[in-house]
């Protein structure tokens, strides 16, 4: 909590990177850092983690950042204390009511400055008793490898995730027999890149993804200097992965905005690390209330993806503006002349 509070001074962008690291440092009580979770299920996830980082990075202005940081810090210290209480001998698994479709909506809430998600999150942590049951004797799938690559050229490219599960095939089949499981990928897009929600909806219609949502600025037109960041959440049904031998390949189409002007003529946009979660619940008996259990799939940080986008050069302003107006004037005068001279 102390680490988090100290980062509130920084501008939002730097705060993202710092908070991400703060998250990793303060986070995993009992879980190994940077390695896939122990199959026996000991690795646990403190409640706020998938929700916290979106909050932190969404807020741009200083005072707002401060307020959110303080709130989040207070909430985290709250949660981690309850976490410590619950942790002792039992599994601690993060839970979410089935009514909440998306994990990352806290991000959307933060963008609209609704800090009411504070209540949602405490609500979640109260129901950890129910979650505990879910975590017992569980052989939750783990990841052995995640690759992410930016493929394509120009302003429209695709981010391709290659996800390999570490469990044996039988273990996977057994798990999927008893549980509905989705892979949740949350990709926080850098400034200058956006996802088209309409395009992604087609993927859902064609059943490539189970569900997809885009949070944040989805304006397709504005250049990045005039727009805000966004995040994409993809739900992928693991049942469909049986044919692929549990090695998934997920494609996310992305588009580039016009970057701010730069003398070099190109701007480079770098992607942060995605969040990968496993969301599961028991199939047959639907406990009342219905809850999804979450497991953060610890992965080695994926390789950096960078996108080089052409941008305008400020040095051109002089001759571009003057020649534009001059040619408009010349053309308009020629038309007026031609019109006046007709007989």
């Amino acid at each position: 909590a102390a680490q988090i509070a100290s980062t509130e001074e920084n501008p939002a962008r730097e705060a993202v990177a710092v908070r991400t690291h703060a998250r990793r440092a303060s986070g995993y009580s009992g879980g190994p850092r940077g390695r896939p979770a122990n199959p026996s299920g000991r690795a646990s996830l403190p409640a706020p983690l998938p929700l916290f980082s979106p909050i932190s990075m969404a807020v741009g202005s200083g005072p707002c950042l401060l307020a959110v940081a303080l709130l989040a810090a207070a909430w985290i210290s709250d949660a981690s204390s309850s976490d410590k209480q619950a942790h002792s001998n039992q599994q601690y698994v993060n839970c979410m009511p089935c009514s909440r479709t998306y994990v990352a909506d806290a991000y959307a809430d933060a963008l609209t400055s609704q800090l009411s998600q504070h209540h949602d999150l405490t609500e979640v942590s109260d129901t950890t008793d129910l979650c505990k049951g879910l975590a017992d004797e569980l052989d939750v799938p783990t990841l052995s490898e995640v690759n992410r690559q930016l493929v394509g050229e120009g302003s429209h490219r695709r981010l391709i995730y290659s996800v390999k599960f570490g469990n044996f095939k039988d273990a996977m089949i057994q798990f999927l027999d008893g549980y509905d499981a989705n892979l949740v990928i949350i990709e926080k897009l850098p400034s200058g890149v956006f996802a088209d929600p309409f395009e992604l909806q087609h993927f859902v219609e064609r059943k490539v993804f189970l569900d997809v949502a885009v949070f944040g600025d989805t304006n397709l037109e504005l250049p990045s200097a005039l727009s805000n960041r966004s995040a994409v959440e993809i739900h992928f049904d693991l049942k469909t992965s049986t044919s692929m031998d549990y090695n998934l390949v997920i494609e996310l189409p992305l588009h580039a905005r016009y970057p701010p002007l730069d003398a070099s003529g190109y701007a480079t946009v770098e992607f942060g690390s995605p969040d990968l979660l496993l969301r599961y619940r028991r199939k047959e008996t639907h406990p009342d209330p219905c809850m999804w259990a979450f497991q953060n799939l610890h992965v080695t940080p994926v390789e950096k993806a960078a996108w080089r986008i052409p941008c305008g050069d400020e040095a051109h302003t002089g001759f571009v503006s003057s020649l534009t107006f001059i040619s408009a004037l010349v053309c308009s005068m020629s038309i007026v002349l031609a019109a006046s001279l007709t007989t």
Partner: protein, 352 residues
């Protein structure tokens, strides 16, 4: 709507006495125009606006002023650009609109052969002289028809705006109308202004810049209206081409706006397809393809070709200007409505 536009083109030309053979070719120029059917099949509402505009023209030609006003108010609410035709409509509805029978008399199409033989009798009106008596001109604009048209179309526009404002509130007003006041389109498009807008998007725009980009557009529109408004379809066509060419944002769908009016002026042009007509078409299409090539390199290959793309936009504007000037120079100016000079004559009198 595309098919409806074809039907209306045929109607309008028939009303003006164009023979069937020529009419068919004019309708073909719309129905088989690759630009229009491509835009239409990808799902676009522009042909709806075109159909409405042609229907308004038909109503005016048949003397149904109220119906024309009704559709005009509705269509300006639907798409704002037809507002540029407001002044020509008012001018045409002026003093010499209705003939002795109360309905307007349409100037019939005369073939070139007849034109040669009729050379002695002035049967082709000159464009309005720029130095015409201003007071006469302005007073001729205040008639029952113009006032009716203006008031009714205006109230239609406000009524529809009011209905949708009641249904959707400020969101409607912002998206439909107010957006156009503050929109900036820095993404690449055919317009020559796109790079200028992109280079300035972080600093904002001064009023001088806004005015400077608006001025050429305004000057051209006024000049065309003053010169050609009596020949209404021709005026509408030129105004639309100029409006699209000088606009701050230009996309391919805007071309449909003037392609629906092109068949209406074809019977009166002195340009033959070989070689002047073809030259115009090739120059226009060629400069467009040139622009598209640079746009492809920028968007799909990620190469920084902003300056070349901007230059291609200027070349395209020059091509548009060239086509406009060619069309103006080869057009046989014929007013839409004529006033019979005396009983039994078929000659269209000179106006003004």
């Amino acid at each position: 709507a595309d098919l409806l536009v074809g039907v209306f083109i045929d109607d309008i030309l028939e009303l003006r006495g164009v023979p069937a053979r020529t009419r068919i070719w004019c309708v073909v120029a719309w129905l088989f125009n690759p630009f229009t059917f491509t835009i239409g099949t990808r799902g676009n509402c522009e042909p709806v606006v075109c159909a409405a505009m042609l229907w308004i023209l038909i109503c005016l030609m048949k003397g149904r002023v109220l119906q024309a006003a009704f559709w005009y108010g509705l269509i300006v609410h639907f798409r704002i650009y037809p507002i540029i035709y407001a002044i020509p409509f008012v001018i045409v509805l002026g003093k010499n609109y209705a003939g002795p029978a109360g309905r307007p008399v349409l100037t019939q199409w005369i073939s070139k052969q007849q034109l040669q033989s009729n050379k002695g009798r002035e049967n082709v009106e000159e464009p309005t002289s720029l130095l015409a008596n201003l007071w006469n001109f302005l007073s001729s604009l205040i008639t029952r028809d113009t006032i009716l048209f203006g008031l009714f179309s205006g109230s239609m526009f406000f009524a529809w705006t009011g209905i949708f404002f009641y249904l959707y509130g400020w969101e409607f007003l912002n998206e439909a109308l107010l957006y156009h006041l503050t929109r900036t389109d820095p993404r690449h498009n055919f317009s020559i202004y796109f790079y200028h807008i992109y280079l300035h998007h972080q600093q904002g725009f001064s009023s001088i810049q806004r005015l400077a980009s608006f001025l050429p557009q305004l000057i051209v529109q006024l000049a065309l209206i003053v010169r050609f408004s009596r020949d209404l379809p021709f005026c509408m066509f030129l105004q639309t081409v100029a409006f699209v060419a000088f606009n701050k944002v230009m996309t391919a769908q805007y071309f449909v706006w003037f392609f629906c009016l092109l068949p209406l002026i074809l019977p009166w042009t002195g340009m033959k397809l070989r070689w002047k007509g073809l030259a115009c078409a090739l120059v226009w299409m060629g400069s467009q393809l040139h622009w598209l090539m640079w746009a492809y390199l920028l968007e799909f290959k990620g190469r920084n070709v902003f300056v070349q793309l901007w230059a291609a936009g200027i070349v395209f504007l020059a091509a548009n200007t060239f086509v406009m000037i060619m069309v103006i120079r080869h057009h046989r100016h014929t007013p839409l409505f004529s006033v019979p000079v005396g009983p039994g004559t078929k000659i269209a009198a000179k106006k003004d």
